[in-house]
Amino acid sequence: MKNAKSVSTPIAQPTVRFFSIVPQETHIDFMGKRYIALGLSTVLVLLGIFAFVQIWMGHAKRGIEFTGGTAVTLDFDQAVPIDQARALLAQNGFSDAQLQDIKGTNQLYIRVKLTEESEQVSARIQTLFEQSFGASNPRVISTEFIGPTIGRELRDKAIWAVIFSTIGFLAYIAFRFDFKFGVAAAIATFHDVFAVLGLSWALGMEFTLLIITALLTIAGYSLTDTVVVFDRIRENLKKHQRDPLIKIINDALNQVLSRTILTSLTTLLAVMVLYLFGGPVLRDFALVLIIGVIVGTYSSIFIASPILLMWRRRGLTSQAKG
């Protein structure tokens, strides 16, 4: 932070100072650090691809929307020890039940695989807990049952949503800029989705429809960030045709740096609030958004632009459209 005073100098003079987080005139050589960034990103993307394969093969935690089954959330007056609850379920034919404490509450989330009589599962679980933990006053506060057909359908829908978003993004960028800008932006967006997927997987998150939604939201956010940078690069390409491309990109990144940081901060502020105060249902969703905002900001500076640079060392200036 350079100076915390608002406008105080006469406007005619070119040394206007603003309250600012980012120094007014930065000349950071972002492009010079591209190899470090590419190294880091390679690791992140590989992690993401690994996580994707794990999820695909069914080795990662997937929400019942995709697997089918029954999920029951119980609330108690006093917290019930999770291993006692697990033992109780195991003795009564639910040996494959997955249990989870909901942090900050006395609630217990129980998931059971699809069985022949899934309709009775929630009632049976409630009876079991009433018999064994009656003193803690167990109450079923929510139940979710997903049949096998729905599970398959939702999975297919999620895949189509990802495919169509990608096509939509590519088409729009190709239309507004040109094909190579489009590909660079698409790569950066894919990078973000995989990086966030990998990090969420490493955190042991359960992949639900809500998490897929968060990932797609991040794709949109990251693309917006990239577009803002690309807009500036294109503008500078027209203004400074003589400059080398690396300087044009670096200048553009520095010019939009304060916007990039500010928007990331306000978005981060909103999703942090969602994480802290939004309740247990939205916590993982908010966490994915937090990771995504950070990764998305990083990628528009360190991934999208370097790809543009490496790919279009020559000839970019003369082809600039728009």
Partner: protein, 464 residues
């Protein structure tokens, strides 16, 4: 008037219409003030926020049915379900067809999953069958080819297990419930004489009354037993009283009958509702079910509203701290944005879900981006030494392309989520896409209006 001034009046009028219109849509002062479940003012809440049961049903239609036949079955099923749900007094139920063979039933306020399942799940095929034998549930019967074993109503109820009986009945029904015109719950003040304290009184239509008389006359009074069987469950197995037999002999038709059983009042009401609505044309299988208790819903909505306030105040306070007076412009723009989004939600009768609230919160964070883009551009122009008015114009125009681009990209995501999302996800996509579209309006019109006002005041210095 000069064209710019006219344009500004136009902008002013638009903003005013947006504010007043949204307030009217949200508060709907012409509506009589009445308590409705699942709504805050005119905003409809999803069942994840107000509690209730959501069921997705799949009609088991034979594959060789023609498309018109299918649609007829679906329409008939929906109307039967509606009659049943209304007869039970569920407030504001929503029953819609989803796809070719699916029906989504939303029952706000209902939390008894068993009741909901029975309400929509039972085909309600009522038959009257002749009883051959009865015995304890574990007995082995030797039934004839035209007979089968059915279990009694009590067998599925844990608390009535002791009374559970198995019945050998004729496969061919003597009569079916298609001739029923009405079913009502009755209370018997003097239990005993074979009639339970709560029973269901049936009234047959004209054809049914003739049929029923013939059925009675086929049977031996005080000896043969006839059982009302609903969806292959035996409710009771009474004999035909001598007096009823005599009545049937004297008259051409008998239009009354009763179903007795060990029901509670609630069970009887449910049963009467199902019987009155008639049988479903096909079996409906539950393929998805979601039940949210009222406490969880209340908790979610409280948390959602708290989080919205905190996020709004945090983000907007940040904008004011950072951009001073111009930050107030962002506050105005975003409040206008939120107001109009909620107004349009109310106007479209869209459903606000918990992810929808998350979408609103995200919108506050992302929405100020347009303001940031404009302000940063204005700062750049001021740094270059431009005067306030020129900086406003240049900053605004230069930021515009980027604003369009960023809105379109976010909108692509939101629309795809809307198309492919189901249930609560769709709520997120709805608020997000509405918010993005409306944000474009508030930035292009609202923010512009304020800055035009600043320009008119001949401001020398910008507080930005």
């Amino acid at each position: 008037m000069r064209p710019e001034v006219l344009l500004n009046w136009g902008r002013f009028a638009l903003v005013l219409v947006a504010i007043v219109g949204s307030l009217l849509l949200i508060f709907a002062p012409w509506q009589p003030p009445q308590e409705r479940p699942c709504t805050i003012r005119e905003i409809r809440l999803g069942l994840d926020l107000c509690g209730g049961v959501t069921l997705t049903l799949e009609a088991q239609i034979p594959p060789d049915t023609s498309p018109e036949g299918r649609q007829q079955i679906m329409e008939r099923s929906i109307s039967v379900l509606e009659t049943r749900v209304n007869a039970l007094g569920v407030t504001e139920p929503i029953i819609t067809q989803a796809g070719d063979t699916r029906i989504v039933v939303q029952l706000p306020g209902t939390t008894d999953p068993e009741q909901a399942r029975q309400l929509v799940g039972s085909t309600a095929l009522l038959e009257f069958r002749k009883v051959v034998k009865e015995g304890p549930p574990d007995s082995t019967f030797t039934e004839e080819l035209d007979e089968e074993v059915l279990m009694g109503y009590e067998c599925a109820k844990p608390e009535l297990k002791a009374k559970c009986q198995a019945y050998v009945v004729k496969k061919e029904p003597l009569m079916t419930g298609s001739v029923l015109s009405k079913a009502e719950v009755r209370f018997n003040p003097q239990p005993g004489s074979g009639v339970t304290p709560i029973y269901i009184a049936l009234t047959f239509n004209d054809a049914g009354a003739h049929q029923w008389r013939d059925v009675i006359l086929q049977l031996k009074p005080e000896s043969d037993r006839i059982a009302p069987v609903l969806d292959r469950v035996v409710y009771s197995a009474p004999t035909i009283a001598k007096s009823l037999y005599d009545t049937a002999r004297r008259q051409a038709k008998v239009d009354q009958s009763i179903i007795t059983g060990n029901f509670t009042a609630d069970e009887a009401r449910l049963l009467a509702a199902i019987l009155s609505a008639g049988a479903l044309p096909t079996e409906l299988k539950i393929i998805q079910e979601s039940i949210v208790g009222p406490s969880l819903g209340r908790d979610s909505i409280e948390k959602g509203i708290t989080a919205s306030w905190i996020a709004g105040i945090a983000v907007l306070a940040f904008m004011v701290l950072y951009y001073r007076l111009s930050g107030l412009v962002a506050v105005f723009t975003q409040l206008l944005n939120l107001l109009v989004v909620i107004g349009v939600l109310a106007g479209l009768k869209a459903t606000l879900t918990l992810p929808g609230i998350a979408g609103l919160i995200l919108l506050i964070g992302v929405g100020v981006d347009s303001n940031v883009l404009i302000f940063e551009r204005m700062r750049e122009e001021l740094r270059l030494g431009k005067v306030a008015r020129a900086a406003i114009d240049a900053g605004y125009h230069r930021a515009l392309t980027t604003i369009w681009d960023s809105h379109v990209t976010t909108l692509i995501t939101a629309l795809i989520l809307f198309i492919f999302g189901t249930g609560p996800i769709r709520g997120f996509a709805t608020t997000l896409s509405l918010g993005i579209i409306i944000n474009l309006f508030t930035v292009l019109i609202g923010t512009r209006l304020v800055f035009e006002f600043v320009k008119m005041r001949k401001v020398e210095r910008l507080s930005i």
